[in-house]
């Protein structure tokens, strides 16, 4: 696909994103005046119609300046402040879920631990069958009430213990998806002619596994990880809310609940663009590295 078509698609996406986000914020905040009827904030509430909101959104997106939140903070600096914890959480979850799933799947098949392989397979199916808020609530309750060794919520800069519980919740889903996928792919790879040939030539199993099979499945795994990263950087609303984690997702939840027009608009544009760029990059990688649709 040519670079011009990519730019054209991006501009089309952005225009529609601005249109939809203006529509959503208009409807979401139409009763805002009643929510703040008895507080001083009502003076800062502006009643705009859809067209003026679309116009405002358009110019705000171009300039990157989304105005101020209801509490007087600049939206762009608010997003910037929330981006660091979200990025930390995303990286932690991906490292936790990604590395452990690939390592365990390779290790179990390499060592022929079939029972453990099955146990983790069923565990992964169980994790994927459980809504993420249930995992979050259960971890929160267990570590808050019964095993108070980790902070049950909040965030402190340079204190990784605050990342453990939300990271475990988000990482568990990444683990489950990648584990099931890796087991399937490794078994499929073992059956192909090249691998059989390598075994027949007497190559050690360790080299076949960690040099040939691992590097063969790595590109697809990287694409899946990138897709996970795109949704994590857009903010994990429920998980961040349950663990009081001050990231993009919690801000989005706050923006929806408090009907904060500028905050909601800025976050919708930010998450949309992040999601779009990373999705396009993963599609591009898909074509370049694996040449298949996932």
């Amino acid at each position: 696909m040519s670079i011009f078509r990519e730019i054209y698609l991006f501009l089309l996406f952005t225009l529609i994103l601005i249109f939809i986000s203006s529509l959503l914020t208009t409807y979401r905040t139409k009763d805002q005046i009643y929510q703040y009827a008895d507080v001083s904030l009502k003076n800062s509430i502006q009643q705009e119609n859809f067209f003026s909101r679309f116009q405002t959104s358009f110019f705000q997106t171009l300039s990157g300046n989304f105005g101020e939140t209801l509490t007087g903070e600049k939206v762009s600096s608010h997003i910037k402040n929330k981006f660091i914890p979200t990025l930390q959480l995303a990286i932690f979850s991906i490292l936790l879920g990604g590395i452990s799933s690939v390592f365990l799947s390779l290790f179990f098949i390499y060592k022929e631990f079939y029972i453990l392989e099955k146990i983790f397979l069923y565990l992964s199916i169980g994790i994927l069958s459980t809504p993420i808020f249930i995992v979050a609530v259960l971890l929160f309750l267990i570590f808050f009430l019964y095993i108070p060794i980790l902070p049950p919520g909040g965030y402190e800069w340079q204190n990784p213990t605050y990342l453990v519980l939300p990271g475990l919740t988000l990482g568990s889903r990444i683990f489950a998806r990648l584990y099931i996928f890796s087991i399937y792919e490794i078994k499929k790879e073992q059956e192909i002619g090249l691998i059989r040939f390598l075994y027949a030539r007497g190559l050690p199993k360790k080299i076949v596994f960690f040099k040939y099979i691992f590097f063969k499945i790595l590109p697809i795994l990287s694409i899946l990880i990138l897709l996970d990263l795109s949704s994590l950087l857009s903010g994990a609303m429920i998980v961040e809310e349950i663990f009081f984690f001050p990231g993009i997702g919690k801000s989005m939840y706050l923006g929806i609940k408090s009907m904060d027009t500028n905050l909601l608009r800025g976050l919708l544009i930010y998450t949309g663009i992040i999601f779009y760029i990373l999705s396009r990059v993963s599609k591009w990688l898909q074509v370049k590295l694996v040449q298949v649709e996932i």
Binding site: Y8, L9, I20, P131, V137, I238, I256, L264
Partner: protein, 268 residues
């Protein structure tokens, strides 16, 4: 022969699990009134005889009734919502496939935007516009889910339309309607059935998440949804752990049983 026996035994286990669940929930509905009333005298009552076999929550509502009605409520929403999502996404996919390139790009961009939006926001807005009706709830799930189904269908429709046999049909003068009737629909109908069956567990998750966040339907008739029960009771888990764990198990069993049932029946 042996593998057929194993498969029959597995299917039997799945059937038994689903039968037991249906039987238990039917029993809960037959034996108990919908948990819509508060009885503070029964607050946190422990499990005892048939009057309260699993105990009561903070408001004195029976846990077994909450579980049964909550599960039925989830199913009542999830099945039609999934069907509506598929019909909507299929319609849009079909229209987009026959539109000129610019309009197809437009629809694709709309679907990408919907994929990036938080489903809670969409649900809140649709429910507020349509004033919390059953249809608005179905529509909010459809609006949150259609884009991913659209993307899957688009890939398949594109593959069919670019296939050699469709190209030959076109060269021989086949109309768009003929191609749809003879080539697209026969191929896509299995995918649609598969998407319907395998997508229900994910809709149940969406319904539970909405319910947890307070976006619920039919609470005045059926009582609270399973997600709302967890959200309501989680702060009192140290007094009544069952109030949290029963709806948690209820959701997991519902998803797992439907997942298993549809996995064994989906042969497409």
């Amino acid at each position: 022969m042996a593998s057929s026996k194993i498969s029959t035994s597995r299917n039997m286990k799945k059937f038994i699990l689903i039968f037991v669940l249906v039987f238990l929930y039917s029993l809960g509905i037959l034996l108990f009134a919908p948990p819509t009333h508060v009885d503070l005298d029964q607050s946190f009552c422990p499990p005892r005889d048939l009057s309260h076999p699993l105990g009561c929550d903070r408001l004195g509502r029976d846990h077994f009734a909450l579980l049964s009605y909550g599960s039925v409520l989830t199913i009542i929403v999830a099945l039609p919502a999934r069907l509506l999502t598929l019909v909507f996404a299929f319609g849009i996919s079909l229209i987009a496939s026959y539109l000129p390139k610019f309009f197809k790009d437009l629809v694709d961009s709309f679907s990408s935007v919907f994929l990036s939006l938080p489903s809670l926001l969409i649900a809140l807005i649709i429910i507020s516009i349509l004033e919390g009706s059953y249809f608005s709830f179905l529509l909010s799930i459809t609006a949150s889910d259609w884009a991913s189904v659209y993307e899957t269908l688009q890939v398949k429709i594109k593959e069919i339309l670019e296939s050699n046999f469709v190209q030959i049909s076109k060269n021989l003068g086949a109309t768009n309607y003929y191609i749809f009737k003879r080539h697209v629909f026969p191929e896509i109908k299995y995918l649609l059935v598969n998407l319907f069956l395998t997508g229900i567990p994910s809709v149940i998750m969406t319904v539970s998440i909405f319910s947890y966040l307070g976006v619920d339907f039919g609470t005045e008739i059926f009582g609270p949804g399973l997600g709302e029960q967890i959200s309501f009771s989680k702060d009192f888990v140290h007094i009544s752990p069952l109030s949290v764990f029963i709806p948690v198990i209820g959701i997991i069993l519902l998803i797992l049983s439907l997942h298993l049932a549809f996995k064994s029946n989906s042969k497409f």
